[in-house]
Symmetry: C2
Subunit: 222 residues, 2 copies
């Protein structure tokens, strides 16, 4: 399997989703929720693309991956499309996550409603600071990091949210991987490596802010 593409099945039908396409599926899903709220039972590729700044062709290419849901001359059935996207993204079920490193960012993630709404549930908090261990936040007790493997197993958590300082990120990632975690969302401003079989998505605020500085300096339109 080559680097940037993600094949769907082992069978013959070649079907791929680039990282960028997956990101757009999330955006489509969100937009569809709005459109459905407005009573739109059918939706066209141009309607969907419009608000997101995408061409209709782009939208159709992305949605083609889901199968033949579109009806020529009509558009896509809103509900079915949402179901298909949810299934493809894997958000038609609950995901349990543990959160390591309880600072302000962690609190922000804990209180962020969007996560629960999409089926993500934080089931445990960890920190190394003895002053924090034992404290309660939103009904969860902060635990010592040594308890991590046992808790991950007991709770059946599959995802890890990494909000520790950069220096600690790699070692915590290693612990999470060893504990059987299958995906890590890393917020530490450092490159983290994970073993095969574990997925990684990084949100690097420093990089994003520098990106913005560059664009502004360029005098950019976007």
């Amino acid at each position: 399997m080559s680097k940037g593409d993600l094949s769907r099945e082992a069978n013959g039908t070649e079907a791929r989703l680039s990282r960028a396409s997956v990101g757009r599926l999330s955006l489509y899903l969100r937009r569809l929720e709005e459109l459905l709220r407005d009573g739109a039972l059918k939706v066209s590729s141009s309607q969907l693309g419009e608000a997101l700044g995408l061409t209709d062709a782009q939208v159709r290419k992305d949605l083609a991956y889901l199968g033949h849901l579109g009806q020529p001359g009509i558009g896509y059935p809103t509900r079915e499309l949402m179901t298909a996207i949810r299934h493809t993204l894997g958000v038609d079920r609950e995901w349990k996550a543990v959160l390591v490193g309880v600072g302000n960012l962690a609190r922000a993630l804990l209180r962020y409603r969007g996560f629960q709404q999409q089926g993500f549930r934080i089931v445990a908090l960890f920190d190394t600071d003895p002053a924090k261990v034992g404290q309660q936040i939103d009904g969860l007790t902060i635990r010592a990091r040594d308890d991590l493997p046992a808790v991950v197993t007991a709770e059946g958590a599959e995802l890890g949210l990494l909000t520790v300082p950069a220096e600690a990120a790699q070692s915590v990632a290693d612990v999470l991987a060893a504990a059987g975690i299958r995906g890590i969302l890393n917020f530490a401003p450092t490159v983290v490596r994970v073993p095969a079989g574990v997925s990684l998505v990084s949100v690097d605020l420093t990089v994003q802010l520098e990106q913005l500085a560059f664009l502004v300096q360029l005098g950019g339109d976007s």
Copy 2:
């Protein structure tokens, strides 16, 4: 100028930096800081790429944009390379930013040391909640959103950090743009549009988390 590339100058020498390249420059810079701390006065493209999971060719292509800094047979001079990257990214000066929407995420950003270190300084806070207006955080008073245009002008702020709920994001972005802000870092989980002349970078946590769910569901290596 086509969509995904950003030309350096109007003159003949074709020189471009994709968004991805700019992101990698940030990573190089960070890695170089480490290497310099370890006493490395020269650095090779393979050394730099190794820790970041990039090929040496990729690194050289990115660095070629900065000019001919590399010395065949030797590598790149660490300090000069850092200076050049900082200059290109626009982080060799101070950027003043205002922060709109004072929740937990805002607090996390305020306390994040990496920002100050890279020359980003938050000079004002805004919120609509009357209970919050007037409060002090880290020496800054939370102001009413109506004061935004005047404060942006008075302080000479160029960047806006947008940590408001999704429903409010677009209208606040409009206000920021009208106030003369030149770049917006948006954290609200919604697509925001900005006028030409204003740059936008978005950090959409929902999208990132769904990306992770997708990758894990795929049973992915990365």
